[in-house]
Symmetry: C2
Subunit: 241 residues, 2 copies
């Protein structure tokens, strides 16, 4: 039982690729004006409230999504309730890279999310006739794979403190790319402590304690909805170590 994710009122996005803020960093960046017009015809704006589910692991993958704003958590669950977040999708990210028939993980909006939604079949057909689009999808997929392998290193071999610091630096990097390369000392954290814990393979208590310790160190400052990084050098040491 969840909303279909249609935007209230008129189409907010999806019909307006030429004005799209995230196009340069998203899959669509490789399409020319003609192709964009074609894409617009296929796209449906899709808006989601915070905590709303976009799709559930194992369900038939009817749609693929291009996130235009907001953050989405992607996760897998074990039958006993243990959860592993496999990634956070930021604006510009694409959900459904595999174009497979069922979703390999669940996804829900962490904050209000706007996305371009496409019927998977139609999108796959477009990809079939546009090799450069396929090429782009492949680049995105292999980039995701690299991130996943880095995360394996993090989950398997790093301490709680290293995990948290690496996470913050990695997120900072991703926000910077979205903001035209401008890095900020403040890292926005729209996700909860529990989400962070489930991403890093820790408990919420350990995440909280580690934040507190780093704050006492003056390594960072906890601010509303984020952290301000005070000692970048030390953090980069910890993340590299």
């Amino acid at each position: 039982m969840r909303s279909e994710g249609n935007c209230v009122g008129r189409a907010v996005s999806g019909g307006r690729c030429d004005a799209c803020q995230v196009r340069p960093v998203s899959v669509c960046a490789v399409l020319d004006a003609d192709e964009l017009r074609h894409l617009e015809l296929l796209s449906q704006p899709s808006c989601h409230l915070a905590k709303e589910t976009l799709f559930v692991q194992g369900e038939p993958a009817e749609s693929v999504y291009n996130i235009t704003s907001g953050v989405v958590r992607l996760y897998k669950m074990l039958p006993d309730g243990r959860r592993q977040i496999v990634g956070f999708a930021l604006p510009g990210d694409f959900l459904g890279l595999a174009l497979r028939d069922t979703y390999p993980f669940s996804a829900d909006a962490i904050e209000p999310v706007v996305a371009c939604r496409f019927a998977r079949g139609a999108y796959a057909a477009l990809v079939d006739e546009k090799p450069h689009l396929l090429r782009r999808l492949h680049e995105f997929a292999t980039h995701e794979l690299t991130l996943a392998q880095d995360q394996m290193m993090l989950l398997g071999r790093r301490t709680a403190e290293e995990k948290l610091v690496s996470f913050l630096l990695g997120l900072r990097e991703r926000w910077a790319k979205l903001h035209g390369g401008k890095v900020s000392a403040t890292v926005q954290l729209p996700m909860s402590r529990q989400d962070i814990a489930d991403f890093l393979g820790l408990t919420i208590e350990t995440v909280s304690r580690t934040f507190t310790r780093l704050a006492k160190d003056r390594t960072l400052l906890i601010v509303p909805d984020g952290v301000r990084l005070l000692n970048l050098e030390r953090m980069e040491m910890l993340a590299a170590a």
Copy 2:
């Protein structure tokens, strides 16, 4: 300092796609006879002794590889020596899916390995003119991504026993695919205990103790270079849990 990986004597493989045992399960399965002949011209047989390094993380990616026999470990290291194995490449697997300019991880042969090696540039050029080959690479990449995400769940949220059992069942599945779907109760383990530990985010002692416990349980039997699964039902319970 490592051998160039040229096979001793005449070309053993790489020039004989039509006789290739792993072609049906590998990337090349989508190529027709003409394309295979073209591919043969580009391919260079590449043989590697046990423990030999194929390539090192960060190096310029001169070659891509199609494994025809043997097992390769793929891993990342931290400056202080901690290691995370991000995957084991089996016959049919492709190394260099991303076609990027540097290798994102290191690779070495666990046992004697034979592979088809291609200059990355030439292979990329071929991919550019054969969209169905790109499509195939993309399928492989997204499959790898799914495996990586499953591994994230394993590393972040499973206990030592669950990790080991999931690993054994997963490997059994992969061997079965290679052997035409015939599953065997015995799982070959060409990798060392240390390799298994570094794949599962454990220490060698914990791996060893967990094996011993499962053997005392009569859940499995430790045999030379592998294990025989005695209580599949119990193992599947543990892996699902």
